[in-house]
């Protein structure tokens, strides 16, 4: 049972200061296609984005738009044989990891880029203790002569992830822990190799709000201490607003808009982002009569239209939109969006070709 003193500690918390550095991850024209019996599912279809050291980048978008497949591709873990990376480059610390031979990827994963999943049970083995699993994970990153101290190291990392009495916890099996605790253990394993980039794919959807709040605060602290860049995938706009510096809005395999969080929430440019933001209810607003809602559904990724993928749901659609996929337009602030409405506007500069 927690003591009263523990409860009060929560009061002495300062939002850690952000320290954003050089570009760590640079993704160019990335395409991952899945070859299925329905045809070619273009789950990731021409992604361009960068992540800086110490930055948190959100990825948002409707179910099935390619968020998780993007994450798996960055780790080179997209499901085989269905998935193939058909084009692109992933520069991590200046090196294109797509050129690494497969057998070297296990060193890249964990030490350079690592991932926390939504369901901790899929990442924890039910038949081994937490301690054994952590020692095994850590063993991948340390030389043999350093391995004797691995158990202490495991205890230390658990403590950093806010696990109380970690010396005793390492002897527990996963089923003896609550959801929030398991998520911390998974988090501890993901940061054990001190990665440069940590991908979190819906890590808090299974958690209660009070536990989610603890966990998000913890991630921020870990980031402030280690300078790790975080890619945060979620449906929850509240989590994005809280955690991220910038975000990508994905729609049907593409990034349709990207920019800093304030601009995306307050002044979005792409009609899909506008509609998405308008359909989120607010707990601060009294009596809204009717929420905005986007009718219809995104197109199937194995049967994409040639034009704008949002055209069938867009209130501003024109013939041009249906005929040709819009180019990306970018402004001075590093904000960009794929939409014909931005063509010819003075602050927007065309940065890609139309129709690809």
């Amino acid at each position: 049972m927690t003591s009263q003193a523990d409860n009060y500690q929560a009061e002495n918390y300062y939002e850690p200061e952000k320290n954003i550095g050089e570009v760590v991850l640079d993704v160019r024209d990335l395409r991952t296609y899945l070859y299925t019996r329905w045809g070619i599912t273009k789950a990731v279809d021409g992604l361009n984005f960068q992540v800086r050291a110490g930055e948190t980048l959100g990825i948002v978008g409707e179910s099935g738009c390619g968020k998780s497949m993007t994450a798996l591709t960055l780790l080179r873990l997209a499901p085989k044989p269905a998935a193939r990376i058909v084009s692109g480059e992933i520069f991590l610390d200046g090196e294109n990891i797509l050129e690494r031979p497969e057998n070297e990827m296990r060193f890249v994963r964990g030490q350079k880029i690592s991932m926390i999943l939504q369901d901790p049970m899929t990442s924890l083995n039910p038949v081994f203790t937490i301690g054994n699993q952590m020692v095994e994970a850590l063993g991948m990153y340390y030389q043999e002569e350093q391995q004797r101290g691995l158990r202490d190291r495991a205890v230390d990392i658990l403590r950093r992830m806010g696990v109380a009495a970690p010396e005793r916890r390492v002897m527990d099996f996963p089923h003896q822990m609550s959801g929030g605790m398991k998520q911390r253990v998974v988090g501890a394993m993901a940061i054990a190799g001190t990665p440069r980039v940590l991908i979190c794919d819906e890590p808090t959807t299974a958690l209660d709000v009070t536990i989610q709040a603890q966990y998000l605060r913890l991630l921020k602290q870990v980031q402030a201490e280690s300078g790790v860049s975080i890619i945060f995938i979620t449906h929850d706009m509240g989590v994005v607003a809280k955690m991220c510096d910038r975000a990508l809005v994905m729609y049907a395999g593409r990034v349709v808009e990207q920019g800093d969080i304030r601009t995306l929430f307050k002044n979005p440019s792409h009609p899909y982002t506008k509609a998405l933001m308008a359909s989120v209810p607010s707990m601060e607003e009294k009596h809204v009569d009717k929420l905005y809602s986007i009718e219809g559904q995104p197109p199937a990724l194995f049967d994409l239209p040639v034009g704008c993928r949002f055209a069938n749901r867009c209130e501003f659609v024109t013939d041009k939109c249906i005929e040709t996929y819009p180019p990306s337009f970018a402004n001075e602030q590093g904000h960009s969006a794929d939409c014909w409405l931005l063509e010819g506007q003075s602050e927007w500069r065309q940065v890609t070709e139309a129709g690809v």
Partner: protein
């Protein structure tokens, strides 16, 4: 606006036995899932239950649906004592009260056509012809924004959002007076959530049906509910009309719960209270005020005496020694 009471729960309690041993099952304790709670649902209005997982929300809904029997206490719908109904009255109850659960699959059998799934409750509980039942299904499909022609499809031929609409159509089939909605939108995409929430609101206006809404998303609750009850470890700790509660949270647990909820606003300056620890086990809940082990304001009396429920503003009830 005073509305008449549709459903009333009085002193409602549900304990589940915790047993040990395989053959001679010995009861070694009780899960106090729902513990002496009181609430009313008004005709055509929505009461929301909020709180962390395991606090007893679903058990409360199951007690109303007669999927569980209360340990003590009573539920009345209009004037009928729900757990003492028999025969025709019981059948009528099952058409008057229905449910929509989080996972639309659980209520939709995969091998039946949508129109047979939806009309099943009608055919079982009321004497209607197949023709009448199918006509009603066509009408309901249109009401929930689908097409009558889709009645002959199977559930897997619909998207997640459409399946949730089917679940709503099924729940409406008997012209119910009350629908229990247990996390009706949390498994859906943001854009689909908005569609279903609007649908639920429209249908309530149209059919004057009452809702018991179980949801953890406080923005969803603010949009849909007229009244909110906050539960912690089986008890209702605070209860008020929606706007009153959101503008004036009083109980320390409610304050923490509301402050932990994130708003889709990067400039939000709301104060954040982060609770330490997790919800204690409902098997041997803490003495006195059950929140005292996590409460930043706990005093000596809190671990010794159960706080009384007080009405601090009209219709605003709180159980806490601070008041």
């Amino acid at each position: 606006m005073e509305q008449d009471v549709l459903l009333q729960a009085t002193d409602l309690t549900k304990y589940f036995p915790v047993t040990k041993g395989l053959v001679l099952q010995k009861i070694i304790g009780w899960v106090q899932a729902v513990d002496h709670i009181n609430f009313t649902i008004r005709r055509g209005q929505t009461l929301a239950l909020v709180g962390e997982s395991g606090c007893g929300k679903t058990t409360t809904a199951k007690l109303i649906l007669r999927l569980e029997r209360p340990t003590t206490g009573q539920i009345t719908l209009e004037t009928a004592d729900v757990h003492n109904l028999e025969g025709e009255e019981l059948k009528q109850y099952h058409t008057d009260v229905s449910a929509v659960f989080q996972d639309p699959w659980s209520s939709l059998s995969p091998r039946m056509r949508v129109r047979d799934i939806i009309s099943e409750a009608l055919v079982v509980n009321q004497k209607v012809t197949t023709k009448e039942a199918y006509d009603r299904v066509d009408y309901l499909l249109e009401s929930v924004g689908l097409r009558a022609q889709q009645a002959t499809l199977y559930p897997h031929e619909f998207s997640g959002g459409q399946r949730q609409r089917l679940a709503v159509a099924s729940a409406l089939v008997g012209n119910p007076k009350l629908i229990c909605l247990d996390e009706p939108v949390s498994a859906l995409d943001v854009s689909i959530q908005a569609q279903i929430m609007n649908l639920l609101k429209d249908l309530q206006d149209q059919f004057n049906v009452g809702y018991l809404l179980v949801a953890h998303n406080l923005a969803t609750v603010r949009y849909l509910a007229h009244e909110v009850a906050v539960m912690y470890l089986g008890e209702i700790v605070e209860q008020a009309e929606t706007d009153e509660l959101y503008d004036n949270t009083l109980h320390p647990y409610t304050k923490a719960l509301f402050s932990a909820a994130l708003t889709a606003n990067p400039d939000s300056q709301r104060e954040e209270i982060i609770l330490r620890g997790e919800v204690p086990s409902p098997i041997n809940p803490p003495s006195g005020c059950r929140f005292h082990v996590r409460c930043p304001y706990a005093m000596d009396i809190c671990s010794q005496e159960i706080p009384e429920r007080k009405e601090l503003a009209p219709g605003h009830f709180v159980s806490c020694h601070l008041y």
